[in-house]
């Protein structure tokens, strides 16, 4: 069984320090061929061999979807994370051979919208860069509101402003500039779709405000990849393969299943897509459901788990895997 999206063997063509926190990486096919065309908002999963530990992290594509000569991602260094971004920042250099997945889009533009209102926070700018490139090609209407901690950390802001003028509005925390969300959302003509990508708090704030102002859920889109949280080690029985595995403190359940040689489906590895959903056959303890996929009802029922981001504490957890 093949799992995940099809793999593409690539070479690192360019590494650029965008600001003190963000590096940009460009990948080209090792065989010199064209990359698959993707749609604005898509991401890839980057496969990393971090000194013996296999890491597979999702990153939004930020390059122009029409550019098939290579893909670009921007990665924010997360000192407190499990190490994927640190590996990319410290060890990935031009010429290195790596493997990435084909693009997957969980954050597409809705082509039925009359116009697109985008709200970005920090590194959440990346999917909008490819979306805006796609909209430019088709003459689609958009407006981007981009919030960053200071001008130095507002990656790509100068380029966006130079290209798109007053369609781009920048808000800098250190200048005390805040998005006036109420008036922004109330002034949108019928048929506008809203997109938000950024920190968890920002996504919650935007979604909540939109709902209060009567925006339909189907017109509000957001994307947040979760990094698998660290936690206490725990044991899991894999009923279908007859194995018992231990999930390490900095390992995800999905990674532990894979490390035991058991094939498990996945796509985003960030709790968003739903592909890795696994049936729980027995649970004596507490599942920490960390995903955005299962409904609150399903989470309360403990009959399914998303092994990419969720953990367990207690006596026994038996999975149909």
């Amino acid at each position: 069984m093949s799992v995940g999206a099809a793999k593409i063997p690539v070479r690192v063509a360019e590494v650029v320090e965008v600001n003190p926190l963000i590096k940009r990486f460009r990948f080209q096919r090792r065989d010199g061929g064209p990359m698959p065309v993707f749609s604005g908002g898509a991401h890839i999963v980057v496969d990393m061999d971090d000194h013996g530990t296999r890491r597979m992290n999702p990153y939004s594509l930020m390059s122009d979807p029409a550019d098939t000569s290579g893909y670009e991602i921007s990665v924010r260094r997360d000192e407190a994370g499990r190490g994927g971004s640190l590996f990319l920042h410290r060890h990935v250099t031009v010429g290195m051979e790596m493997v990435i997945s084909s693009p997957i889009n969980l954050f597409p533009l809705d082509a039925r919208a009359r116009r697109h209102l985008m709200i970005a926070g920090g590194i959440g700018i990346t999917p909008f860069l490819s979306q805006i490139a796609a909209l430019q090609a088709h003459g689609g209407q958009f407006e981007l509101h981009y919030s960053a901690r200071s001008r130095d950390f507002a990656a790509y802001a100068d380029d966006l402003t130079a290209r798109h003028g007053d369609k781009v509005r920048l808000y800098l925390d250190d200048q005390g500039q805040l998005i006036n969300l109420n008036s922004l959302l109330q002034g949108q003509p019928l048929g506008t779709h809203l997109y938000v990508c950024g920190p968890k708090g920002m996504i919650g704030w935007v979604r909540q405000t939109a709902e209060t102002l009567g925006w339909p859920l189907a017109a509000v889109h957001s994307e947040e990849f979760l990094a698998p949280p660290v936690g206490l080690p725990f044991q899991v029985q894999l009923a279908a393969s007859g194995k018992t595995i231990t999930v390490g403190p900095a390992q995800s359940l999905l990674e532990a299943i894979e490390a035991a040689g058991v094939t498990a489906p996945y796509l985003c590895r960030g709790g968003a897509c739903g592909e890795c959903e696994t049936d729980v056959l027995g649970c004596d303890g507490q599942i920490a459901h960390n995903d955005h996929w299962l409904t609150d009802e399903q989470k309360a029922g403990d009959r399914q788990i998303m092994p990419c981001v969720s953990r367990f504490g207690g006596k026994t957890l038996i999975l149909d895997r």
Partner: protein, 204 residues
């Protein structure tokens, strides 16, 4: 009261019960018995007066002649308009949608033909179709498109029925198009011309 439709293929629309929702403006459209769904919703609403102050109601009598205009006109909405038919109400509906901002709540109640056509106008204005709240009341007559000549027959009562455009005898399916806002009608005697089953009144 609302008719309960038997379970069918996924294409067949299902309807809910109107609920007052937060919004910056409210558009309510009803025909025939649908007026009662609006008054029922407002009776359950926390702040009906506040809602009505930002409401635009468009009403037309139903296909079987039911006219509850007086009950809506008495509500005291910011705007309340009676049209003789959906066709006559359409320019007003389109104007309201083109002037509106996000935050508008749309409620439609009455026959399936009305619900589908209002939903279609909302979609053409760029709203997701799920954004329109619906409640079925009154007549179950159907708006059907002939898949052969593409002509639409309104208020279909029997199955089969003769297409009002090309005259073919059409079997009424539950297969529905949101884009056309109509059920599909397919020639029932294509294989054996003239072998037409007796028409049965299925929609009243």
């Amino acid at each position: 009261m609302a008719a309960s439709f038997p379970p069918s293929i996924p294409s067949r629309p299902v309807y809910g019960t109107l609920t007052a929702r937060p919004g910056t403006a409210h558009l309510m459209v009803a025909d025939g018995e649908g007026a009662a769904a609006l008054t029922d919703m407002l009776a359950r609403a926390q702040d009906a007066a506040g809602l009505l102050a930002r409401s635009h109601i468009i009403y037309m009598p139903g296909p079987t002649g039911t006219d509850l205009w007086a009950s809506l006109n008495a509500l005291g909405a910011a705007q309340c308009h009676r049209s003789p038919s959906f066709a006559a109400a359409l320019p007003r509906l389109q104007q309201v949608l083109s002037d509106a901002h996000m935050g508008l709540q749309i409620y439609v109640a009455g026959t399936e033909g009305l619900i589908g056509q209002v939903q279609r106008e909302a979609m053409l204005a760029g709203l997701p179709w799920q954004a329109v709240q619906t409640e079925h009341r009154g007549s179950t007559v159907r708006r059907v498109q002939c898949v052969h000549c593409k002509g639409i027959t309104e208020n279909v009562r029997t199955d089969p029925f003769p297409c009002s455009h090309c005259g073919l005898n059409l079997f009424v399916r539950d297969h529905y198009s949101r884009r056309i806002a109509a059920f599909q009608g397919v020639n029932i005697d294509a294989e054996d011309p003239g072998q037409v089953p007796a028409a049965v009144v299925r929609f009243t």
